[in-house]
Every structure is written in structure tokens, then in C-alpha cells.
């Protein structure tokens, strides 16, 4: 592992990799700061731009987009009180500080906390992922099949408010994943005479359609009224005394974010609420919370950013995405011809370690880039929809076209996007569709191999305790998020979850 770290450290300092970090993070901060747009959409749109890049800068740019976007969300939350779900707690004290004329200070605290949270998540990514991947290397087809089933169990956490709806959408994803030639028999399935579907659906148009188009259409729907931009006066970065005062908050929230990030059924929204609650309860002056307490910004921001790396642990180690952003990372790995999962560490250790080390640099880049974006780019929140919307849609169109130079892919993107938009309207989470699309072929191939090994006898699984444990965990995963959601709603007024 240490050789990998040393190699990663050397490679990340190459000019093109540093450039990818800076540009990706800056783009992420910009996208995150635009009210109504999210890092997930930014990732989906960035994906086609990585076609022509080598794997390392491509993954670093995506990492920057993800982490920068998470911080960017705090800018619109603090300045104009338009938060995404994860930044609702940040708004409570962030906007209160803005109203008191301390917007610059609030943004500075958010950037500092995001950096600390990001560094913590990079640490976990670097030191927890390789041992997990090494363990997974010993898995045979039954365990890999069970792992895919476990991954499908995560559907429930991506399903919106109904597990049943998530499972229906996941089945749809599994079926879409079977379109094209069967890898074993070469029999073509569900192509309906479309020659373009012989090799199955192109991944990027489906990802753009599922993740970017619904957001673009939601953005089209929203009537963002005229917002008054506050003036940023005074020092942004926390003073040494403030760093000292917020250190315990950041450490505590970082740990909360890491634990929740690694847990597959939870995400940044939960981390954000819990860290805010913990900070408020730990404070000797809880009445300051909601009135502009710096801890009310530092806590949630550290936790959200700590979640980012934790979320990618399972993605890199096992090839199982735990969130929409992680699913897009899997898409990027496939685009680069890399197989996510334990074999990635054997075959492409240099790429993996450089990406992990790059996460440290991305986190460090958030501080200066976030401060610059906050100071100069606060106007971003005022960017006119009339310009952004057609540009983003045209970008999605050419991005879908770019991979295969085929207009068929553009139609696939549009139709998938419309279906995802309608499904989202009825609370069917489209992320479950993509998760199933990714895991379906893995599950099918390893089920076939397992059945060959077992001569069709299901009792064979009894001899594979790890596979049984994983399948049991998958069942547990189906109910866990509903229980967590019920707990969060009971405990936190205004909690809306990830749906």
C-alpha cells in the first residue's frame, strides 16, 4: 500500500492532474452554488468531457466536481437561503449570519469546515478501501453474486420514500441492463429491431438522462424570484482563535460524517442533521443555534464533506455504488475501460492511489477556490435561467452524442430523462434504476457461474457463509432506511430526506 501511496503522491503532482483538480473543483463550486443545480447533475454532464482524458485526470476532475459541488451548495444556502436538502441545517445559522452582515465570515467557516471534512474523507478513502478490496479479492462467483444482491439492497436507500417503488424501478433497471447481446450465448435480447441496441444501451446517455435531465426540467419549473445579494464585508477565513473554538466541532462532525458516509443506507442529509443536532446538544449555549452560531455551519459542513469519501469506499473496493454520485463514478470507471471493484487495486493500483491522494488535494483546493468563488462568484446565484437552461440542455445533448457519434444516443438520453422526470414526480427514485443497471449484469453473470459450480443446487450456498451473510444484509438493507427515515422525521422537524 505504501508504494502505491508514494506513487500516487508523485503522479498527482503532474501538471495535468493538478489542472484537473483545480478545474474540476472550480466547476463543482460553480455548479453547486447555482440555485437549483446539484453536483450530481454536474458529474453527469462532466462525464462526456472525460472521454478524451487519461483515467487519472478524468477521475480527479470528477472528484473535484463532487467535493466542490458539495461546498458550492453552502454558498446559495448561506447567501440567499436556497439550500439543497443536505444544506438545510447550514441555512439556519448561515443565513442568520448573513442577515447580521457576516456573510463573508459564514462562507469562510463553511469553506474551512468543508476542507477539514474533505481531508477526513480522503484519509478514510486511502486507508480503509485497500484492505476491504483485498478481502473482496478472495470472493468467488457465489460471493460476488451475493455482493451484487447486497448492492441491490441499497436500492431502498436510493428509493425515495417507498422501498416498494424503489424495487419496481430497480427491476426496470435490471431489465434495461439485459438489453443487447447475452455475453454467454450471444443471443440478442429486447432489441426490438434496433441495430443500435445490439451492444446494449450506451451508459453515458442513460446516466445523463437519468440524473441531469430531471434536474434541468425541475430547474425549468422553478420560479426563482429576484434575490438580493448581500455584500461580503470583512475577513472570510476564520481567525486562529476561531479555528481553535471550532476544532472540536469539526472533529466530532467529521467522525459522524465518515461513519454515515461508509454506511450504505445513509447519506449527507442524515449526516448534516445529526451533526447539527449533536453540536446543539453539546453546546453550553444552545440558544445561539439558529441565531448565527458558527458551530451550526461548521458542524454540518464538515459532516457533509466527510461523507463524500466514505461513500466512495464501497464504490472503489467492491464496485457497489451507495449513491447517485458514486454510480456516476462507476460510469466514469467503465468509460475509461476500468473494472470497478477489488481487481482495480490489482490491475490499476497507480490510478486508484493517485485518485485517492488527489482527494486530499481536492479538499485543500476547496479552501482557496471556495473563497474566490464566494467573493467573486457570489453573483453566480444571480445567473439568469434564460441563459443557463438552454446551455445545460444543449450540453447534455452533445454530451450524449459524443461517445458514439450517434443521434440515437441523444434520443435515448431524452426519453430516459423524461421517464426519470415523471417517475421522480411520483416519488420513484431514478438512482435505483442506475444502481440496478450497473449491478444487474454482474449479478446475472455470477449467478450463472454459481449455478454451474453448484450443478444447479441452491443448497450450495450453505457452504458459502460470506454469501449468506451478504444476502441477509441485503434483506436488512431493505428495511433499515425506512427505520432511519422514521427516526429522523420524528426527531427533526423539517427533515425531508434525500427523496
Amino acid at each position: 500500500m505504501w508504494e502505491g501511496i508514494a506513487l500516487g503522491l508523485t503522479r498527482v503532482l503532474e501538471f495535468q492532474n493538478l489542472l484537473a483538480i483545480v478545474l474540476g473543483t472550480a466547476a463543482g463550486v460553480v455548479v453547486g452554488a447555482l440555485p437549483g443545480l446539484t453536483p450530481t447533475m454536474g458529474l453527469a454532464l462532466l462525464l462526456p468531457l472525460t472521454f478524451g482524458m487519461p483515467p487519472v485526470p478524468a477521475l480527479l476532475a470528477l472528484s473535484g466536481m463532487l467535493a466542490g459541488g458539495v461546498y458550492g451548495g453552502a454558498i446559495s444556502a448561506i447567501l440567499v437561503r436556497i439550500p439543497d436538502p443536505a444544506n438545510v441545517p447550514t441555512t439556519l445559522d448561515g443565513y442568520a449570519m448573513t442577515q447580521r452582515g457576516q456573510a463573508a465570515k459564514a462562507l469562510g467557516i463553511a469553506a474551512a469546515a468543508s476542507t477539514v471534512g474533505g481531508l477526513a474523507s480522503a484519509f478514510v478513502l486511502l486507508f480503509f478501501t485497500p484492505p476491504l478490496a483485498a478481502m473482496a479479492l478472495r470472493f468467488g462467483p457465489p460471493e460476488i453474486f451475493a455482493l451484487a444482491v447486497f448492492g441491490l439492497g441499497i436500492v431502498s436507500s436510493l428509493a425515495g420514500r417507498s422501498v416498494l417503488k424503489g424495487l419496481v424501478v430497480a427491476c426496470l433497471g435490471l431489465l434495461v441492463g439485459t438489453v443487447g447481446m447475452d455475453p454467454v450465448s450471444a443471443y440478442t435480447r429486447f432489441t426490438f429491431g434496433f441495430f443500435e441496441l445490439q451492444a446494449g444501451f450506451e451508459f453515458v446517455p442513460l446516466l445523463i438522462g437519468t440524473f441531469a435531465v430531471p434536474e434541468i426540467l425541475r430547474y425549468a419549473e422553478e420560479a426563482v424570484g429576484p434575490v438580493k445579494l448581500p455584500e461580503l464585508v470583512g475577513r472570510m477565513l476564520p481567525t486562529l482563535a476561531e479555528w481553535r473554538r471550532l476544532a472540536v466541532t469539526m472533529i466530532r462532525s467529521g467522525v459522524i460524517g465518515l461513519i454515515i458516509g461508509i454506511a450504505p443506507a445513509a447519506g449527507p442529509v442524515i449526516a448534516s442533521y445529526i451533526s447539527y443536532d449533536v453540536e446543539k446538544r453539546s453546546s453550553k449555549t444552545p440558544e445561539r443555534f439558529g441565531q448565527g452560531a458558527p458551530e451550526g455551519i461548521a458542524g454540518p459542513q464538515t459532516a457533509i464533506n466527510a461523507c463524500v469519501g466514505g461513500d466512495l469506499v464501497l464504490t472503489f473496493a467492491l464496485g457497489i455504488p451507495g449513491s447517485a454520485g458514486a454510480a456516476l463514478f462507476i460510469g466514469a470507471l467503465y468509460l475509461q475501460g476500468l473494472q470497478p471493484g477489488p481487481l482495480l487495486f490489482q490491475r490499476n493500483a497507480d490510478i486508484v492511489y493517485t485518485t485517492f491522494i488527489g482527494f486530499f488535494f481536492v479538499s485543500l483546493a476547496i479552501l482557496p477556490l471556495g473563497l474566490i468563488a464566494s467573493r467573486l462568484g457570489a453573483w453566480l446565484v444571480l445567473a439568469p435561467k434564460a441563459v443557463l437552461l438552454p446551455f445545460i440542455f444543449a450540453f447534455a445533448v452533445i454530451g450524449s452524442y459524443a461517445g458514439g457519434s450517434s443521434l440515437f444516443d441523444v434520443w435515448v438520453m431524452l426519453i430516459a430523462g423524461l421517464i426519470a422526470y415523471v417517475l421522480q414526480k411520483f416519488d420513484f427514485g431514478p438512482a435505483a434504476f442506475v444502481l440496478a443497471l450497473i449491478l444487474g449484469p454482474l449479478a446475472e453473470a455470477n449467478w450463472n457461474r454459481t449455478m454451474l459450480m453448484a450443478h444447479g443446487d441452491l443448497a450450495f450456498f450453505i457452504q458459502r457463509p460470506i454469501a449468506i451473510v451478504l444476502i441477509m444484509l441485503a434483506a436488512l438493507m431493505l428495511v433499515a432506511p425506512a427505520l432511519v427515515d422514521r427516526f429522523m422525521r420524528r426527531r427533526y422537524a423539517g427533515y425531508e430526506g434525500d427523496a
Binding site: 468531457l49 417503488k165 427491476c171 435490471l174 446551455f391 445533448v397 423524461l418 411520483f426
Partner: protein, 143 residues
């Protein structure tokens, strides 16, 4: 469409889709057809469960409603989608640069960007930016 009672309708569509896909999978030989058959069957059962839950257990046709962002929001989405489809359809017939330039200009106008000279400035610049990134830098062939 503001409060369409449609949760059960989506379940019905999913049920129909699963029945159709199951029938298609039945025509496949064992092996390549086994997995799609099993999944289509499962999807059908789950859709039926969803339908039953909404119609029978939750008292009639109650369900999740179409969450409209406000008056006119659905109409805005419909014309944005419609116009984008016309744009995509025109790319193959007219050149990419021309169709995209027109798309930008008309969308900006319809979304309320004024004055006109601003549109004439931003629309070609946006096309140029996309062209430089995808054609010049990423070597995407638009012909």
C-alpha cells in the same frame, strides 16, 4: 395536472410493461431468457403489490400527487421538452451549429432574456464554446 391521482396509474403502467417484457422473455431460450423472465415476473408482482397497496389498503385511489412547482410550471416543462425534441430532430437535417444557435436564441427569448442584442451576443458565443470543447478539444465528429 396539478393534483393528478397518478400513483396507481404508474403502478399500472409498470405492470403492463412487466407483462409485455415477460412475454418477450418467454420467447427467449433458457439461459439468456431465464434472468429477464425472473426479473419481469418480480417486477410484475411488485407493481401489483403497489397497485393493491394504493387502491385497496390506502382507501381508494389516493396516492402521491404530481408535485407541480406552481402555476404554469408544467406548461414550461412541456414546451422546453417539445422544443428540445424539435432541436434534436433538426440536428441531423440542418447543421449542428445552425440548429444549436437557433435553439439557444429561441429558448433565451422564450425564457425572457432581453434585450435582443444580448441574445445575439450570447447565443453564438455559447455555440462556439460547445464547438471548441467538443469538436476541437475532444475530437467529436459532428458531420
Amino acid at each position: 395536472m396539478a393534483r393528478a391521482r397518478a400513483d396507481w396509474a404508474v403502478a399500472l403502467v409498470m405492470l403492463a410493461a412487466s407483462a409485455f417484457l415477460f412475454q418477450e422473455a418467454l420467447a427467449m431460450p433458457d439461459g439468456p431468457g431465464t434472468f429477464p423472465r425472473a426479473v419481469a415476473l418480480l417486477m410484475g408482482v411488485l407493481s401489483l403489490g403497489l397497485l393493491v397497496r394504493n387502491v385497496a389498503l390506502e382507501g381508494g385511489l389516493r396516492g402521491i400527487y404530481w408535485h407541480s412547482a406552481g402555476p404554469g410550471a408544467t406548461a414550461t416543462v412541456l414546451w422546453v421538452v417539445g422544443f428540445t425534441m424539435v432541436y434534436v430532430g433538426s440536428i441531423g437535417r440542418v447543421s449542428y451549429v445552425l440548429s444549436t444557435g437557433l435553439y439557444f436564441a429561441v429558448m433565451m427569448w422564450l425564457l425572457g432574456l432581453r434585450p435582443r442584442w444580448l441574445i445575439l451576443l450570447i447565443a453564438p458565443s455559447s455555440v462556439l464554446l460547445l464547438w471548441v470543447v467538443f469538436v476541437r478539444m475532444l475530437n467529436v465528429s459532428l458531420s
